[in-house]
């Protein structure tokens, strides 16, 4: 028997043994190696644990929607609110022109909305598939039927109004106009805010955490946009619109404060990162900016007042639009979160 020959330099001492044990403990504990040795530290390796979930791969899938859907949210919100304003204006007999313009916004919305949905789906036939069933438990199904009702009503009212203007009133036209207007009011009310339920009743945490606020928020946002549009269409001096715009702006400001004030980690996408900044931009443009501008306009002179209201209108419209995109972006960020859907506490 021969004695094993040691291999000189290659044989480590106890110290190296200890270091290896240290490295292993570190690796097991953190899934990462920061031990400082003669060489640069490295070699973190991903782990699946109750603290990291499954390699930090997000549990949820991101919403698959592109730009069409948030734009649709915006258009639908504005159109629905406009229809309401138009109908009430008609019933209260306030201002024929306001009624007409509001109807036009509603009618434009009733055309653009399905076009956006078809663009999102890819083919017109795919839109028709939505009419196969009626599902109260699906906000999207409810929304589609609302859209159908709203679009028919708003389009009929606008069309009948257009014909009476052109060829003179007649009973059937009158009847069509009234029915259309009634429908656009009835459907316009939910249509302006159902998209809040739509995204609220999903598995995306940032959305479902706000399901109680979202319809109100979206309704206010839609109203603000509708008011802004009407103001820009020549109703810049209408004080009712000013009041409605002010109301929406105040609500939006309050909504913004509410979000900022809560420390729920589920709301992080609304506060941090790109989606957070988008949300804040939309919030500022929807809430404080138009509110302050409107208040200032009430104080200032005539010309200055008109200009301030125009700015307020633009701000509200832009805020409303950005807000919808912000919520969708926040939904993406929330779905990418590997922690909260798994009920892992943020550090």
């Amino acid at each position: 028997m021969s004695d094993p020959v040691p291999l000189g330099d290659l044989v480590p001492g106890l110290e190296r043994e200890r270091r290896l044990a240290e490295i292993r403990r570190e690796a097991e504990r953190r899934g990462k190696l920061d031990v400082v040795g003669g060489r640069p530290p490295g070699a973190p390796f991903p782990q699946a644990t109750p603290e990291t979930g499954y390699y930090k791969i997000p549990l949820l899938k991101e919403p698959p929607w592109k730009w069409e859907i948030p734009l649709y949210f915006f258009v639908g919100g504005a159109a629905g609110a406009a229809a309401v304003v138009g109908a009430i204006a008609d019933y209260t007999g306030v201002d024929r022109k306001l009624v007409k313009h509001a109807r036009w916004i509603a009618a434009a919305g009733s055309v653009i909305s399905p076009v956006l949905l078809v663009a999102d789906l890819g083919r017109p036939a795919r839109f028709l598939a939505m009419l196969r069933v009626f599902k109260p438990q699906s906000p999207m199904s409810m929304g589609v039927w609302t859209l159908v009702g709203f679009s028919s009503g708003a389009a009929a009212a606008a069309f009948a109004g257009f014909l009476s203007d052109r060829y003179g009133p007649s009973l059937p036209l009158r009847w069509l106009e009234n029915a259309g207007q009634a429908a656009s009011l009835a459907f316009g009310l939910p249509f302006s805010n159902y998209t809040g339920v739509l995204i609220g009743a999903t598995a995306i945490p940032v959305w479902n955490r706000n399901v109680g606020d979202l319809p109100l928020h979206f309704a206010a946002s839609g109203l603000a946009a509708a008011v802004g549009m009407l103001e820009l269409m020549g109703h810049g001096k209408n004080r009712a619109l000013q009041a409605l715009g002010l109301g929406a702006g105040i609500f939006e400001s309050w909504e913004g404060l509410r979000i900022e004030g809560r420390s729920d980690p589920h709301l992080d996408p609304l506060k941090h990162g790109a989606s957070g900044w988008t949300t804040r931009t939309g919030g500022v443009l929807s809430g404080p900016v138009p509110t302050i501008l409107r208040l200032l306009s009430a104080l200032g002179g005539k010309r200055r007042s008109a200009s301030l209201r125009r700015w307020a209108a633009w701000s509200a419209i832009a805020g409303s639009l950005i807000t919808r995109f912000a919520w969708i972006r926040a939904g993406h960020a929330s779905a990418r979160d590997w922690k909260l859907p798994l009920e892992i506490r943020s550090e």
Binding site: L131, R132, V133, F134, K135, P136, Q137, S141
Partner: protein, 186 residues
């Protein structure tokens, strides 16, 4: 006709039955008539071509086309199960990268040519015969040798025993090729 159309409209059925649109009332014609793709296919009983476990496979085919390959539940070894490789046998046979023509590369050429199968067979027979003519040794120092070591063969462990039998019979016993080997050296 209209009635027929309407009766197929799930919404009408919903109204008639009070269903919520998540059950049979919402099923399409295709769904109602759904059948597995192997329905009506012929079955050949086969064995997995990958490892040595020897799992049974059922090869479903219709009109000369493969439909699906899955495990044979009657196999006492595999009991219908397959591993990922065995489960992918259908793709093995049908993937677009499969060769279907003879590729031929002339000496010093930079590219493949395509030649006809019969022509390729003739040429291979020719090369084999010529090389054997050149290198065959009947005897060495007066002793029987009957071999050529200059032509070799490699492969066999994924071939059938009948094919291996022919390889050994023609190459070694007929032509005297002794350099014959495959993966199964142990």
């Amino acid at each position: 006709m209209l009635k027929d159309l309407l009766s197929r409209w799930p919404l009408i059925q919903q109204i008639q039955t009070g269903a919520d649109g998540t059950g049979p009332e919402a099923m399409s014609e295709r769904t109602r008539n759904l059948r597995p793709k192997t329905d009506g296919a012929e079955v050949a009983r086969s064995i997995c071509p990958y490892c040595g476990v020897g799992c049974g496979q059922l090869v479903f085919h219709k009109d000369g086309k493969l439909i699906s390959i899955e495990g044979d539940p009657e196999s006492p070894i595999s009991r219908g199960h397959l591993c990922p490789k065995g489960a992918d046998t259908y793709e093995l046979h049908t993937h677009p990268g499969r060769l279907t023509k003879v590729k031929y590369r002339r000496p010093y050429s930079r590219h493949w040519d395509q030649i006809e199968l019969e022509q390729a067979m003739d040429r291979v027979a020719e090369r084999l015969w010529e090389s054997r003519e050149r290198t065959f040794q009947e005897t060495c120092d007066g002793e029987t040798l009957m071999q050529t070591t200059a032509i070799a063969h490699l492969g066999g462990a994924t071939l059938d025993i009948e094919e291996n039998y022919l390889i050994r019979k023609l190459f070694t016993v007929g032509l005297g090729m002794v350099s014959i080997s495959n993966q199964a050296r142990i």
